[in-house]
């Protein structure tokens, strides 16, 4: 038996809305990056677009799975069943497992893609090795969910470190967008670090979700500055 619901009951649905915003923001970045790829034919943008698309799909998988899970809970409660361990489900529930596996794999793949791009690594052997390790972590952390969050936090730490260097390094001053990306990735890093401890208290899940939401709002502000405001100022 594996614990799948960490959200407090009053928070059911709110987390889905929060993650829907994550889907919209990551999709926005993905689409914009794809447009830049079509414009420049530079594969860096295509790769970034695919990475953010993977994160977007990852959240969609989690939303679908959580929706099914919360729906089951609501139906059970409506029929006044005596559910002592209502947050426990049988491991054989393949749909839930597939949903969470997809969420974890796509999330790690997307994050790793971003790390790979910003680190500007050319070592393709390592790329395959990390790909394999991500698959292993995603598939075998169903019962030990914190392994996934630790891995995601690690990758996010290296991404945030890269942006920190760009923002506060000795090179020329970084633009506002780089600072915003540093802030957004740092918030996502904090949220993943907090997610590790959700077994302690339901409230921790809420804190982690709020940190994650804050990260995506910063991304949204950055995209607004880069795309929409740029479009208006050109006139």
């Amino acid at each position: 038996m594996i614990t799948l619901i960490f959200s407090p009951r009053w928070f059911f649905g709110y987390d889905i809305i929060f993650e829907l915003l994550g889907v919209i923001v990551t999709l926005l970045i993905s689409v914009h990056s794809h447009r830049l790829y079509r414009f420049s034919k530079d594969y860096t943008y295509k790769f970034l677009s695919l990475s953010f698309f993977a994160i977007s799909a990852s959240f969609l998988a989690k939303i679908a799975t959580n929706f099914a899970l919360y729906y089951q809970q609501t139906v059970k409660t409506a029929f006044q069943e005596l559910i002592v361990k209502h947050n426990l489900l049988d491991k054989s529930n393949l749909f839930l497992q597939a949903g969470y596996d997809a969420h974890r794999f796509l999330m790690l793949l997307g994050l790793f893609g971003i790390y790979w791009l910003v680190s500007k690594s050319k070592d393709y052997e390592h790329q395959w090795l990390f790909g394999y390790l991500i698959l292993v972590v995603a598939l075998f952390s169903f019962s030990t969910y914190y392994v996934f969050h630790i891995t995601a936090a690690f990758i996010l730490f290296f991404i945030a470190r890269h942006y920190h260097r760009r923002c506060f390094g000795k090179e020329r001053a970084a633009p506002v967008g780089t600072h915003l990306n540093f802030l957004a990735f740092s918030l996502l890093l904090m949220s993943q670090a907090v997610f590790i401890f959700i077994f302690l208290n339901n409230a921790i899940y809420v804190i982690a979700e709020i940190l994650q939401l804050a990260g995506f709002i910063i991304f949204l502000v950055n995209m607004w500055l880069l795309v929409f405001r740029h479009g208006k100022t050109k006139d």
């Binding site: 760009r166 633009p175 780089t178 880069l226």
Partner: protein
Amino acid sequence: MAKRRTRIDIISDILMAIQQKGGRIKPTHLLYKANLSYQLLSEYLAELRDKELVDEEVVGKKQDKKEILLTDKGYDFLDKYHQMKQFQESFGL
């Protein structure tokens, strides 16, 4: 060491040189501004004309001089290029 210019960088340099001169420029001036050989600049200009990013106009009393003009499509291209550069800087790509 300066980073090698990509194809899109060279195109934008050509278009920006025209833009900085108010949207029209003499070929000799462009040759100097774009920092390209005559042969290469001719090839790029032929391509830019095909893509309707620039246009040519014959000027002068004797109609013996040529000027290169930036079209609306050229201005759009530059706008997209600046947007791309901002995005690239912002994401550290």
